[in-house]
Structure formats: C-alpha cells, structure tokens
C-alpha cells in the first residue's frame, strides 16, 4: 500500500496537485463505472416497465380486434406499434404458426422460422431458462423481449378456445444504452478537464506561495552551510513559511555574530605575544598558539598530545609542580614565575598564569596556561638594579671624596709651603717630599674616585683620537713588560671626539695595567690595541638603547690572559672591587673607566672567556667639530709681578693655603670668604684686579653668580673657578666663555701658574722666568 508519506521524493509543489489528480482520478473512475452500471440497469428497468404497460394495452386491444375479426385494424395496430421507442419488430402469429400481422409488412404470411431473424430459437431458450415474465431483458442486456400468448376465437362454436397465437416483440436497447454511456462519458471528461485545470492552478499556486519561497529558504540554508553568514531567506508574510524564514534569518544572524566573535577571539589568542597553551583535564596539550612555538621552539604538531612537562627546566623542585597542580585542581587560578626550558635547551624566565576551565556540569574540562617570556624584562631589571647600585655608590663615594679633597687641598698647599720654608733643612725636605708624594697619590686616588662618581672636572675638548692614542699608547707602553707583545691597529683616518685628554690617558693606563696583570704566567702574552670607526647596527642599539650617536670611535684593548669568570664580570666596574691581592690594586681603575665613559656619553663593552682572554671596547661618539690641537705648554712659567688677585673661598684653610702660595709667587692677593663679599670687594675697585679666583660652592652667593655679577661690571675680567666637585650643570653657562677657566681642587701651584699665565698673558707682556 503506497502511503503518501513515502512520496517524499516528490517536490511539494507537485505533491498536492498529484494527490488531487490521483484522488479525482479514483473518484471519476469509480463514478464512471458505478454510474454506467446503474444507468444500464435503469434503462433496462425503464424499458421493461414501459413496455409492460404498452404491451398490456396492445394485447388487450388485439384480443378484442381478433374477436371482432378486424384483421385490417390488427395490421394497422401492429404497424403503428412499429414507431414505439426501441421497437425492432413485433409480430402476431396464428395458431398454425404463420404470421398474421407484423410491423414488417414483408413478413406477413411467413412462418417465424423462415425469417432471417432467429426469433423462435431465442424464445425457446428463454422458455427453457424458465423466464416467466412477458417482458424481460435478454442475457446480454441489449434486448428486451415481449412474449404474449393471444387467444384466438374458437373455430367452431365452442366456449373455450384452445387456439393461441403468439405476440412477439423485440426491443433494441443498444442505441439507448449507447446514448446513456455517451452522456456519462461526457460528464466524466468534463470533470476530468475541470480536475486537470484545478490541479494546474493548484500547482501554480503552490509554486508561487510555497515552492518559490521554499527555494529561497533552501538557497539561504545552503549558503549558510557553506559558511556564508550573510545569507538571508527574506520571506515575507505571516504564514508558517514566513515564520520559518524569519526564525531562520535571526538564527543565521546570531550564528554569524557568534562565529565572528569566536574567530576574533581565536585570532586574538593566536596572535598574542604571550604563549598560550590549552590542555584537557588530564593535562594533555590540545592547542598551542604561534607565540608558544616562537618562544619555546616546539611546533604545534610537536606540542599537541604532549604534557606541559616538556617545558620543565629542572630548576624547580617536584613539590613546586605538585603544589601547582593541587592549587589548580581545586579550581583556582595559579599565577607566578617559573623557569621554562626551550626546545634547544636554553632556559628563560616566564610569568605564568594557569586557569582551569569548567564545563557545563561544573567539572574541570580544560586548563589554559599563559606564559610570558620575561627574560628580557629580567635583564632590564638587573640592569636597572646595577645602575641604581652604581648611582648610589657614586653619591656615597662622591660625598666622601669631596670632603677628602678639601682636606687634601689644605695638605698639599701647606706641604708645598713647608717644603719651600724648609729648603735649607734637607732631612725635613726629604720627609716632606715623601709626604707630598703620598698626598699626590692620595689626590690621584680621590680624583679617580671622583671620576667614577662623575664629580670631577671634565673639560671636554674636541680631540683627534687617532693621533692622541698613537702618542698616549707610546707613553703607556712603558708600563708594560718587554715580554708582552703589543700590537696596535690604529685607523688612518682622524676620529674627532669630545673628550678630556687627561681622562682618556688615564683610562688607557688603567686598561693596559689590567691587561698586563691578566697576562701574568701566560705563554705568548699579547695585547692588541685597536682604534677604528664604528657604526652601530640594530643589535648594538638594542643592547645599548642609550646609544644615540650615529657613529662612534671604537677603542678596543684585547688580551689573551686569564679572562674574567662569569660570577665576577658583573662587578668589575664597582669601586674598590678587585681580584688582585691586597696592595696590588685599588679596585678603582675600571670604576674610573666606567664613570669616565658615562661622562663622555660613550659605551663600554666587555667580553671575556676564562682561560682565553678579555677584550674591552670603548665607544666614543664622533664629534662634528674639528679638533683643537691644544697641548699644554709646560715650558712657560710665569712668576707673578705684583698683580692683584681676588680670592674667594668659604674654607679658611683653603683660603689661607692658596693665598700664601700665590703671595710667595709674587702675586698680591685679596681674600674674601664668600661670593657677596667678593662682588662687593670687586666692585669697589674693578680695574684694580688682574684676575679673580672663585670657589664655586660658597654660602650666600656662589662662584658662578659672583662671576656673572663681576662680569657685568667688568666684562673682560679673567676668572678662575676652583671647584671641589663638579656638577656639569653648575658651570654651564659660563664654561667656554673667554677668560674663564675652571680648575679642580686641590689646586696645584703649577696648574695655577699656568692658568694665570694664560689668562694674564694677554694683558701683560711676557717675561722670562
């Protein structure tokens, strides 16, 4: 039995029309068959019933006519009956079997069996079949027979006749039935046409109302399944299909948004700078992002399926990891730092945050871990710490040195005078000379310390490093033993830098000294000096962000000595840090280098491998000014000749020392103890003075302000600043101006003389000492 449900293969627009056709077809077919049967039966019944009436009347009439012997009337009666509907023929036989009268005039007088019509045999058959009625339908339903026995009047005058004739009538139903069938068929074809038309209209309606719109929905659904979330069905109306369409549209929209958001999130995770890994509840890695691969070195294929223990550095004890997992399995987020191992084995510090993800049932389904590589950060932190340490050391050292320096100034000055006063007592002079030497050494040390703390006077001049180093190296080589091979590769091109020549010299001395010491007990000891221009590359800049200059002069000193071990190399620039035994090194050399390079805005790089040697590289920024060839001229010394000097210093000891020194050398010195007095004194008789010596830091008014004031009164007055410690910015503004020099305490008499010579040289003529 075919059920309509199994017709799913049929498109919907076909289904209803098809069903209509099917059902209608069945109905029509049924009607047709049934109606035909009914109609045929009705015709038969009708004809039979009609003829029963008509024949009955005819029979009666014929009987009476026979009785009266009206043969002519019998003939007309039967002729007339010939026009009866469905009539084929009717005949009346005499008792002897001859036809008395018939509707077929040609039959009159003949016997029934002589006719071409098989009349009698049929009747005989009917009689055999026991048909009792006078009017009955034949077997095939196409004929209605009428059969009556007619009583003839008796021949002789007997009361009861025994003569019977037969009245036989044949009615043909064929045409009537054909007409009925035709009528029914006409109705059937009309209905079929109507049904067909309706089915077509229905199909059309379905096509428009449903199919077309359904196709829209189908197309949109297909689009959406391919991943195009902008597809919309766009169905209008308020029927069920439109409702589906609207629901579909909003579903797709939401899906599109969700997918977009998911994509964004996964994109974000994928592109995070931190490495992200997701494991399942058992700790098996299911997902890693690209940063993970970049940082750890494991590709996604290598990592997925593994346990995060592949990152174990071995730096943490088992308890650490146990505690971690315990914390996590309680559903809490773990944050902290740990050392991880990359695929190549190197370790890096990472800030780690691991969070458990809960499923719908509240149980942990996944863990999400975020590792941030902070090795760079760590390095920077350490650098900062180091810088801070150095800074505080500098402050400490500077403070001490400053006070120390002042005391030394007094010592040195007094010693000088004492030597001078006791020049006739050689025992004392010798002792004094020793003390002076020691105090000079002390002063030197303080100077180095001050250099480290960047508190000494730095006079940056444009210098051609190439020629300077060549000279300086020659000098410095003296300190290096003969058995050490000294090589130098100095660039031919001039390299002009802003530097303090003295300090550069000092640095060179320190570095060579260290190299010499490192080469002790080394076979084939070698020192290589290298001076070349250098242009920083990206690596250099990333390592030294403070390197702002575009080109540098690189001075490198290399040795193949014992090298510096890793645990020491961090501390080499700290003051008083030394690996040499007591008395062999002050531990200030490299700290002085450090501080000097800082003030020169340069950069130091150290490379060392224990057992192989060390290399120190100093980078000086190239100056855009040309070098000034200014070598101190020691040959000319000028004694004072009664020139008047104004001396201002808040330290009475210093004041006295310096003024005495100068008086001995033939100068007249007026002394004040602060800037205000100095200005006052000066302004009383500005032209009386040949030069002014000012201490920079004084209470009331400082040296710089005093100098400015004096310069307002007399712009050309030569001024010498004596400074205990130098903050560059203090002297800024006045440095470099003509007739202004700054000297650092303790003031050496020679330096003072030289400076005065230079300054007063313009104003007075030269004279020989």
């Amino acid at each position: 039995m075919i059920s309509l449900a199994s017709l799913k293969w049929l498109p919907i627009r076909m289904l209803l029309p098809f069903a209509l056709l099917l059902v209608s077809g069945a109905i029509i077919g049924g009607f047709w068959w049934f109606e035909v049967k009914r109609e045929m039966a009705a015709i038969e019944r009708e004809v039979v019933s009609l003829q029963l009436q008509d024949m009955h009347r005819l029979v009666g009439h014929l009987q009476s006519l026979l009785l009266n012997g009206e043969l002519k009337n019998i003939a007309s009666e039967l002729s007339d009956f010939g026009s009866e509907p469905n009539m084929q023929y009717i005949l009346l036989t005499r008792p002897d079997g001859h036809i008395l009268a018939a509707s077929r005039l040609g039959w009159v007088g003949q016997k029934t069996d002589a006719l071409e019509e098989p009349v009698l045999p049929v009747l005989l058959q009917h009689r055999k079949q026991g048909k009792q009625n006078h009017v009955y339908v034949s077997e095939d339903g196409m004929t209605v027979w009428a059969h009556y026995l007619i009583t003839y009047p008796p021949e002789n005058d007997s009361l009861r006749s025994r003569d019977f004739g037969e009245l036989i009538g044949k009615f043909d139903l064929a045409l009537t039935k054909q007409a009925a069938r035709h009528r029914i068929e006409q109705w059937v074809s009309l209905f079929a046409t109507l049904v067909l038309g309706s089915a077509f209209l229905l199909w059309l309606a379905m096509r428009y109302a449903i199919t077309r719109r359904m196709n829209q929905l189908i197309a949109a659904a297909n689009q959406a399944s391919k991943g195009n979330f902008s597809a919309r069905a766009g169905l209008e109306g308020s029927d069920e299909l439109a409702q589906i369409g609207k629901a579909f549209d909003s579903m797709i929209e939401r899906l599109g948004r969700e997918t977009m958001r998911q994509r964004q999130l996964s994109h974000a995770v994928e592109n995070m700078a931190e490495s992200v890994l997701i494991t399942n509840a058992k700790g098996v890695i299911e997902y890693v992002n690209s940063s993970f691969t970049r940082i750890s070195g494991y590709s996604a294929e290598e990592a997925i399926g593994q346990n995060p223990s592949i990152l174990k550095s071995g730096k943490h004890p088992t308890e650490f990891y146990k505690a971690l997992w315990r914390h996590l399995s309680q559903g809490k987020v773990w944050t902290g730092r740990m050392t991880d191992r990359k695929k190549d084995g190197s370790l890096y510090l990472a800030t780690v945050s691991i969070a458990p993800l809960l499923g719908a049932d509240g149980r942990i389904t996944h863990y999400v871990g975020v590792h941030e590589d902070i090795s760079e950060q760590q390095k920077m932190e350490m650098q900062l710490m180091q810088a801070q340490k150095m800074e505080s050391l500098g402050i400490l050292v500077g403070g001490i040195a400053h006070d120390f320096n002042n005391m030394l100034a007094g010592m040195v000055g007094n010693l000088y005078m004492a030597r001078k006063a006791a020049k006739d007592l050689p025992e004392i002079t010798q002792k004094l000379a020793r003390v002076e030497k020691l105090s000079f050494r002390a002063a030197d040390m303080i100077k180095q310390l001050l250099a480290f703390a960047r508190k000494d006077t730095v006079q940056l001049k444009t210098l051609d490093l190439t020629s300077f180093i060549k000279e300086a190296y020659k000098l410095a080589r003296v300190a290096v033993p003969e058995d050490i091979t000294c090589l130098s590769y100095v660039s031919n091109d001039p390299l002009c830098i802003e530097c303090d020549a003295t300090q550069v010299q000092q640095m060179l001395m320190n570095l060579l000294g260290n190299a010499r010491d490192a080469l002790r007990n080394v076979s084939e000891p070698k020192i290589i000096l290298d001076l070349q221009p250098y242009e920083p590359d990206a690596t250099f800049i990333s390592q030294h962000p403070e390197a702002t200059s575009v080109s540098y002069a690189m001075l490198s000193i290399k040795d193949n000595g014992c090298g510096i071990p890793d645990d020491v190399i961090e501390r080499i620039f700290e003051p008083f840090f030394t690996t040499k035994g007591v008395g062999h090194g002050s531990g200030l050399g490299l700290s002085m280098v450090f501080g000097t390079m800082q003030s020169h805005k340069g950069i130091i790089e150290v490379e060392s491998k224990p057992g192989l040697g060390s290399s120190f590289r100093l980078f000086f920024p190239i100056s855009d000014k040309s070098a000034i060839h200014d070598m101190p001229d020691k040959s000319k010394v000028w004694r004072g000749n009664g020139e008047r000097l104004l001396l201002a210093d808040d330290e009475p000891l210093v004041r006295d020392t310096i003024s005495e020194m100068l008086c001995i050398d033939g100068f007249t010195v007026d002394v004040v103890d602060d800037g205000l007095d100095a200005v006052e004194q000066f302004c009383k008789r500005p032209d009386a003075y040949d030069a002014v010596i000012l201490d920079v830091v004084m209470p009331g008014m400082g040296g710089v302000d005093a100098a400015q004031k004096m310069r307002e009164v007399r712009p050309d007055i030569p001024i010498i600043f004596a400074t205990g410690y130098d903050r560059e910015h203090v002297l800024r503004g006045v440095e470099g101006l003509p007739g202004i020099v700054s000297l650092s305490k303790p003031l050496h008499s020679e330096t003072l003389h030289q400076t005065l010579t230079k300054l007063l040289h313009k104003n007075f003529g030269r004279s020989d000492t």
Binding site: M14, P17, F18, L21, K72, A75, S76, S79, D80, G82, S83, P85, M87, S103, R104, L105, G106, W107, L175, Q178, A179, R181, H182, E185, Q186, V188, S189, A192, T193, L196, F200, W203
Partner: protein
C-alpha cells in the same frame, strides 16, 4: 514533469470522450407500400441503416403515415406532395428534403372497354380514392378534355375496393395506380389518362418535421446519400435488388420491373433540377397544386409554401455534380 502528467491526462480525456460516441439521432420514417418508396427498404435490407438511427415504420396506407407524422409518432414520412400540403394546412411544420419519385404514367384513369377518351366520360361514374392525387388527376383530366366536375359523377373508393368496383362495372372509370392498375388492365381496362400527360405534377417526397430537420440536418444528408446509393444499386444489380424488394411489394420478380414503369425514381439529377430550378422553383409547383386543391375544397386556407422548401439549401452545393 508536470507537462508529462498533463499530457497523459489530456490523452485520457480524449480517450474517454472517444470511447462511446454519441448515437445517431433516431429518425423514424413512415411509408406505405409504394414502389417509389421501396429503395428505402432496399437500403434497410442491405444493412445500410444499421449504424444510423433511421427506422422504417411500415404502414398500410398513407393515411396512417400522415396521422403518425402529424402526431409526432414518426419524424418523417414518404408522402405525395398534396398529402404534405394537407398536413401543412393542419399546422404540421414540415420540410421537403428529398424528391422520391415522379409519377409518369403510374397514376392512370382506367376505363371500361368501350370508353377510349376522357370526353366519353361525360355523365359517367368515376371511381377515385378520396385523396388529393385522385382528385388532382380528375381535375386535370377534366381540364384537359374540357369537362367540368358537374359533367361527371364521382364515387369515392378506397384502394382495396378498386378492383372489385371495376370488375363489377360499378364504375365506368377508375383513378388508380400500380399494382392495381396492372390487374385492371389485365381485366380489359384501358388507360384513357395518366400522369404522363401531366408530367412532373404528381410527385412523392420525403417530408420531415421541421424541428427534427433543423436539429439533425447532417442525418438527412446522410439519408439522401443512401437513397441515391440504393438507386445506383438497383441500376447495377437489378436482380439482387429485385429479390430484396419483392417481399413487401408482393409481386413476383418478373413483375417487379413493370412496377417501375411510369414511375421516375428521384435521382440526384432530378433532385437538383427540382430544388435548384430558378425558373420553376418547387414553390411554384406547390402553389399550382395548392390552387387546384383549394378549388377542390381539399385546402381551405393559404399556406406559406416557402417554409416547406427551405431545405433546398441542402442541394445548393450539389450544383453541377453528377451522381
């Protein structure tokens, strides 16, 4: 796919409508026994009416035919034109569709021996069937011989009484027609006047009730075709035709030929010239006949004879067509 289904259903519909064709309309034609009508029975005997709805109703006299036609018991009838006019007078709306035969000597006045011309009938008794034909013949005979009705004595006789009346010399002359005519001639009678002297005036036609003709003109076209085919059969196979036609006429085969002497069966040519005759249209002939009937008192009002011959359109297309 739908197109295929539509096509299938359409074919089915056509099949249904072609299944049982509409039956031909039932046309009952009433006739009496007259040689001029027998070709119809030849056609029936040959089975040509089997598929059609034509049924021949056999009456013994034209009076029965007329009654049946008038009552609507039959749809058409084979009658003489005067009989048609009588029916028309009674209000039966008929159409003449076919010229069946023309009397050309078949209708005759048979006189006793000794009377050789109509003039001799002055003061004599003439027996005649009280029908229009008989009256028409007498009228025309008297007209042609300069006599009037007053000059003779008319005795109405039914057809079956003709023989007896003549042999018993009850009448001096009798207006009769075959087959009786031959019998009387055998008994010493002599034809003194016949329809050959008034050619084309006594005609037999097939008259149809107008509503039936209007409803089924094609059925009558078919019928007339079969009529002409029957005539052709008689021409081509006279013996077989005679055998088939004999029973109703009740004459022996050799006598059959004689039956058609003095009778012109209405061929297609005759029908065409009858219906399409411009100069002497059938209406005119009818008018002539009507006049006579009126004067004889057989018609008592004027008739619209045009309606009677409206069926002549059937032959309009046949002009010039040879059978």
């Amino acid at each position: 796919m739908f197109a295929r289904m539509a096509l299938a259903t359409l074919l089915l519909t056509l099949l249904i409508s072609g299944c049982t064709p509409a039956p031909k309309p039932e046309i009952r034609i009433g006739t009496n026994i007259w040689p001029g009508y027998e070709p119809l029975y030849l056609a029936r005997n040959l089975g040509w009416f089997r598929e059609s709805g034509v049924r021949l109703v056999e009456y013994n006299s034209s009076m029965e035919t007329m009654n049946a036609l008038s009552h609507g018991s039959i749809e058409a009838g084979a009658l003489t034109l005067d009989e048609v006019l009588s029916l028309a007078q009674d209000g039966v709306d008929l159409r003449v569709v076919l010229l069946l035969d023309v009397s050309n000597g078949a209708d005759a006045v048979v006189a006793q021996s000794g009377i050789d011309n109509p003039e001799k009938l002055r003061g004599r008794t003439i027996g005649v069937e009280s029908s229009a034909v008989g009256g028409y013949i007498i009228h025309r005979m008297l007209e042609k011989s300069g006599l009037t009705l007053q000059d003779v004595h008319i005795l109405p006789l039914t057809l079956d009484a003709h023989k007896a009346a003549f042999t018993s010399k009850r009448v001096d002359a009798i207006v009769t027609f075959e087959p009786i005519k031959s019998h009387l001639l055998a008994n010493g009678g002599k034809v003194i006047f016949d329809s050959s002297l008034i050619p084309g005036e006594i005609i037999d036609v097939l008259a149809v009730r107008s509503e039936v003709f209007d409803a089924y003109p094609e059925a009558f076209a078919e019928l007339t075709e079969k009529w002409f085919q029957a005539l052709a059969y008689m021409q081509n196979q006279p013996d077989d035709a005679a055998r088939r036609m004999q029973p109703r006429l009740r004459v022996s085969l050799d006598q059959l030929g004689q039956q058609y002497a003095g009778l012109q069966l209405g061929t297609l040519q005759m029908n065409l010239s009858f219906f399409n005759n411009a100069t002497n249209p059938p209406v005119k002939k009818a008018e002539h006949l009507a006049q006579v009937m009126r004067s004889d008192g057989l018609l008592h009002r004027d008739l619209d004879l045009n309606r009677l011959f409206a069926a002549r359109n059937m032959y309009a297309g046949h002009g010039g067509h040879r059978p």
